[in-house]
């Protein structure tokens, strides 16, 4: 307490003591003005310089990373689009081969059908009725004078004959029409067949046209990538980002499946490898063994997908001969089926162990043992469900290879972009901090001048005296020059 009061020049009056001390210190502060200003500026510069330098370096690094990311992204995009185009061409080739191979047959069929239709059409042409030869005879008879009985009888004969002939001709005419209608009716299947064949040809041509449109789109994309346009880069980045999120989501779902799988087999694994061995203080060997089984299943699934050429994580497998790849496929599938069978058995064992434990705990309970109702087949449903789940989950886990490949492919782009973003953000923060430090130094300099404002005013008054005009001018010129220097310094630093 006594020590803290030593500075008080006027005992018991701290404010007055402080003012007196300040007044005493003021001349010294005024005298030390220039070095203090220099010191504050130097310290500000010392602190802000490295910060700004680091900021610039980080920005340069971010630029480099961005360039590298772009190069990798475009290369990846070029490869992927190239593969897509190749695949599309293969499909088109298959389509063309399949359909064009069938075109001669199709053409022949069409020609046959058209010829047949033409022939039938000719057949169904209208048959003109026989020329009425008997008309002239009737005319001759009609010119004979009336009253002749013979003529009368002849005419009657002719009339009856004409009627008969008319009936016969009409019948033949009708038959001919009926025949033609039959022929026309027989056209229908040929027309239908013709229509169907033409529709098929149209469908195939449309499909080919669609493929061609898709190839056009891919080619455009490929050209954009080759030209390294920002549009292509943006599109590829967005595509990779989408892939990343989708694959992450699917992997998370797969992890959930793996967790369920793990829970199914962890307990029964203790029956196989023992429950008393530990790898760490809280991790049982049986738990790890269960996890190993799941990982082995996932690996087998991975190999299966690789050998089926669905994924391309291992170029060595991809480059194997078809025969060797086929062998590998069967080995992986056999192992996967075996492991799935083991899991189903383990799931059954788990159920039995749980039931045994429950029975033991019940027998150890203090209450009288209760008769457990036997639910028959209903009680077996969970067991069967567990077994089924144990058998299915390994196969479901096998498909993890597909999202895994997408994840690995997209994480490079997403990670690179995140790093660029981080570098830029850090650079911004460092630059901000550097500016803050430098401006704080300026504020401190001004603040110092504010503190010693009285001596500065005195100095100004002294310099403003008439006999000191020259001196004043010199001083003003010096001050101006100092300001100009300071502005230059500020401009250079900025």
């Amino acid at each position: 307490m006594a020590g803290s009061a030593l500075w008080m020049i006027v005992p018991g009056n701290a404010a007055l003591s402080a003012i007196v001390l300040f007044l005493i210190a003021m001349p010294f502060l005024y005298a030390a003005r220039k070095p203090v200003h220099e010191l504050v500026r130097s310290v500000g510069h010392l602190a802000s310089g490295p910060l700004r330098l680091a900021s610039r370096w980080l920005l340069a690094v971010a630029r480099d990373m961005k360039e590298r990311n772009k190069a990798v992204l475009l290369a990846h995009g070029r490869e992927e689009t190239g593969q897509l185009i190749t695949r599309e061409f293969e499909r088109v080739a298959t389509l063309v081969r399949r359909d064009l191979e069938g075109y001669p047959a199709l053409q022949r069929r069409l020609l046959d059908e058209i010829t047949r239709v033409e022939e039938d059409y000719k057949k169904c042409g209208e048959v003109p009725p026989p020329p009425p030869e008997w008309v002239e005879a009737v005319d001759a008879v009609a010119k004979v004078k009336n009253g002749n009985e013979l003529v009368q009888r002849v005419l009657e004969e002719i009339n009856s004959t004409i009627k008969e002939i008319y009936q016969k001709t009409l019948g033949e005419y009708r038959n001919a029409y009926e025949e033609r209608h039959k022929i026309l009716n027989g056209f229908m299947p040929f027309w239908r067949s013709l229509d169907k064949t033409l529709a098929q040809a149209d469908q195939k041509m449309t499909s080919l046209n669609d493929r061609a449109t898709q190839i056009d789109a891919q080619i455009d994309k490929y050209q954009e990538i080759v030209k390294k346009t920002d549009k292509a880069e943006h599109a590829l980045t967005m595509s990779q980002l989408t892939q990343f999120f989708i694959s992450t989501l699917v992997l998370a779902i797969a992890a959930g499946g793996a967790l369920i799988n793990y829970k199914l087999i962890a307990l029964p694994m203790s029956e196989m490898v023992g429950a008393g061995d530990y790898l760490t203080s809280s991790l049982r060997t049986s738990d790890v063994a269960a996890l190993v089984i799941i990982f082995v299943e996932a690996t087998m699934g991975l190999f299966l997908m690789e050998t089926l050429r669905i994924t391309h994580l291992f170029p060595r497998i991809h480059n194997l001969s078809d025969q060797m790849r086929g062998r590998m496929l069967w080995i992986a599938l056999t192992l996967l089926v075996t492991l799935a069978g083991i899991e189903a058995a383990l799931a059954l064992m788990r159920d039995m162990l749980i039931a045994d434990k429950a029975a033991l705990l019940q027998s150890l309970a203090t209450t009288a043992q209760q008769h457990v109702a036997n639910d028959g087949w209903l009680a077996r449903i969970p067991t069967a469900g567990q077994m089924l789940l144990g058998f299915i989950l390994p196969f479901a886990l096998a498909f993890i290879a597909i999202p895994l490949e997408s994840f690995i492919a997209s994480v490079r782009t997403v990670g690179g972009e995140a790093l660029v973003l981080l570098a830029r953000a850090t650079a911004f923060v460092l630059r901000l901090a550097g500016n803050l430090v430098r401006n704080s130094a300026r504020v401190l300099v001004t603040l110092y001048d504010v503190v010693i404002v009285v001596p500065l005013m005195v100095e100004r008054l002294v310099k403003a005296r008439p006999d000191g005009a020259g001196g004043r001018n010199v001083s003003e010129a010096r001050l101006k020059s100092h300001d100009v220097d300071e502005h230059k310094l500020v401009a250079r630093r900025n």
Binding site: A275, G276, T280, L291, L360, L361, L364
Partner: protein
């Protein structure tokens, strides 16, 4: 075997793959030696002991050890061990052992007879020897007694005992008639035992009269 252990298992598996043969060599098993006082009036409490043993059988896992011994006039003898078992690593076998253990305990409960004296110290020495032989990571002696030791003249127990790294738990320490007259006797008796057990190197000394608290103790 929950989600947490699944998540810890993944990196641990990687670690294990990196460091072959680095499996945790320490024993993680539990070993419990239970002393059941059958002397004097305390013999009628033996049914409660059965409950505790049942609880222990339900709680202990594969690889754990359990032994139950009676406290008689002289208890430093293997003959006083009623039942003992180190549960098999396979859960199904362990369950069978537990069933057999329970049957042995039930037989003992039916046929238990009181003794003239109470040699708790002898039982403690015997229990410590058994527990040390098991090599378990966590060793516990449960003393089911009123903690009133009474020795005959020829029995010598006034020497330092070794209970190093063993947790000693006095269970169901009932109050005697004299304790009811002067509770300081009860307190003093427990205090004396605590001093003696701690001096012997025990890792912990606990008194549990409410059997429901036993669960918490065993899990800790």
């Amino acid at each position: 075997m929950d989600k947490r252990s699944f998540l810890t298992a993944v990196p641990a598996l990687g670690l294990a793959a990196w460091l072959p043969g680095c499996a945790d060599q320490r024993s993680h098993s539990n070993a419990v030696y239970m002393l059941v006082d059958t002397s004097g009036t305390y013999a009628q409490e033996v049914d409660k002991a059965q409950l505790i043993v049942n609880y222990l059988l339900g709680s202990l896992q594969s690889g754990d050890s359990l032994a139950v011994a009676r406290v008689r006039s002289r208890s430093f003898s293997e003959k006083d061990i009623i039942a003992k078992a180190t549960f098999d690593n396979r859960p199904s076998q362990a369950n069978s052992q537990k069933r057999a253990f329970r049957e042995q305990m039930e037989t003992f409960t039916r046929t238990a007879r009181g003794s003239a004296y109470t040699d708790i110290t002898g039982g403690l020495i015997q229990g410590a020897m058994f527990l040390n032989e098991t090599g378990a990571g966590r060793k516990t002696i449960l003393i089911f007694s009123d903690m009133q030791e009474e020795l005959d003249k020829s029995t010598v127990r006034d020497f330092p005992i070794d209970l190093k790294a063993i947790r000693v738990v006095a269970v169901n320490v009932v109050k005697l008639k004299t304790d009811n007259i002067d509770p300081r006797k009860y307190m003093g008796r427990l205090e004396d035992w605590q001093k003696r057990v701690v001096k012997a190197g025990a890792s912990e000394w606990l008194v549990i009269n409410d059997l429901e608290h036993l669960d918490r103790m065993l899990k800790s």
